[in-house]
Amino acid sequence: MNNAGERLYNGLVKENPTFVLMLGMCPTLAVTTSAMNGLGMGLTTMVVLALSNLIISLLRGIIPGRVRIPAFIVIIASFVTAVQLLLQAYIPALNKSLGVYIPLIVVNCIILGRAESYAYSNPAIPSLFDGIGMGLGFTFALTCIGAVRELLGAGEIFGLALMPDSFVPIRIFGQAPGAFFVLAALVALQNYVKDARKKAGKSYEKIGSGCSEDCMNCSEKGCTKRFYGEDGTRKAAEPDKEER
């Protein structure tokens, strides 16, 4: 159980997918117009992430290495479809406000990343909790960003008016450009923390070590080359040193 707890902590804080690893930026920007949308998207992603981690981990002895990526994608896409149908049936309002971003969970690099770097080489229960932890971290981050944008853009959080009447909402934060500004501030803050830690003599390599160095080089180095070697073969799974 201790291992499960460690996985949850890892996903929420130590390797938070949004704040630390900077993964899955498309949905982060697109659906965080309000705290509620961020929460909904985060939880939906968490369900898919946890279940696909669990199944991939259970099937890890069966899926041959060469075709594992297509196999992962099929598993993930199946869960996304199932979750989408459930949302359509039970929470149609959320389904409508998230729209095309629900099916696009399939290409969220957090999910494929965890499948490849954790679930495919670890037992089922830690993989499940790894998915839940990462999903909670993602949910937490999206809700925070959504809350900031909703507060600045409409003066509310979760629809509760928090600002005094004299506050004039900065509408732009609820719209597309606001997402870029909030994320820019977030990355600048991350750079600042990274610098401060470097000066203090502490290494903090994990920061910005996600899919790429903060998504900038995503396409140059590429998600692909992080998970596969230059020639497309799988890198030997490196055991997480801090863990063992």
Binding site: M25, C26, P27, L29, A30, P70, I73, V74, A77, S78, V80, T81, Q84, L85, G99, V100, P103, L104, V106, V107, C109, I172, Q175, A176, P177, G178, A179, F180, F181, L183, A184, A185, V187, A188, L189, N191, Y192, D195, C211, S212, D214, C215, M216, N217, C218, S219, E220, G222, C223, T224
Partner: protein
């Protein structure tokens, strides 16, 4: 084709390329937008590859949806089928270009593998279904979306080339500045919303 159809296609063309720009208002394809926008010519190369792949993918995905998924009443499989079709298609296009058109492959080749995981391709295919576009309208929508991507990435690359010479506070160097620039571009693109 009647006048009405042409008008509808024109609306889709302008709407998808300028008014609801794929990166600046829908946040799809953000990774290549931020990653390959350091130089104008590479940005243009990426744009060309995206136009090629998205137009082709929306044609193939549209045809498969209409003639296979709808025909056998398995529309709910769209996400699974589309992602596999797109991944296979990109691989196939890469092999085909390598053999048949080496010069085009030279120009686009390096960008092709990057597009497989590009959410814009899947996004367009799904949007076409959600908006109930026919195959032709879907192709036009895919083309227009990709043109919008190209416009945005080339402009951003141009701006970034100029930004190189600026003195920027340390924490804001790199990605934050690019994001701020993209935000300002998004505001500018809001101006197109009166167009339709």
């Amino acid at each position: 084709m009647g006048m009405e159809n042409v008008k509808e296609l024109l609306v889709i063309l302008i709407g998808s390329s300028l008014v609801s720009n794929v990166v600046l208002s829908q946040f799809l394809g953000l990774c290549p937008f931020l990653g390959v926008s350091r130089k104008t010519n590479t940005a243009a190369g990426m744009g060309a590859a995206v136009i090629f792949v998205i137009t082709l993918a929306s044609a193939v995905a549209g045809a498969i949806y209409r003639f296979v998924l709808v025909r056998f009443h398995v529309e709910y499989l769209e996400t699974i089928v589309f992602i596999l079709v797109i991944a296979a298609l990109v691989q196939f296009v890469e092999m085909f270009l390598k053999k048949a058109m080496p010069s085009l492959y030279e120009a686009l080749g390096v960008y092709l593998p990057l597009i497989t995981t590009n959410c814009a391709v899947l996004g367009v295919a799904i949007t076409n279904v959600q908006k109930e576009y026919g195959i032709l309208a879907g192709i036009v929508n895919g083309f227009a979306t990709a043109v919008g991507f190209t416009i945005a990435i080339v402009i951003l690359a141009g701006l970034r080339e100029k930004l190189e010479y600026n003195d920027i506070p340390k924490s804001f160097r790199g990605m934050p500045t690019v994001l701020l620039t993209a935000g300002l571009m998004a505001i500018a693109f809001c101006g197109f919303s009166g167009l339709l």
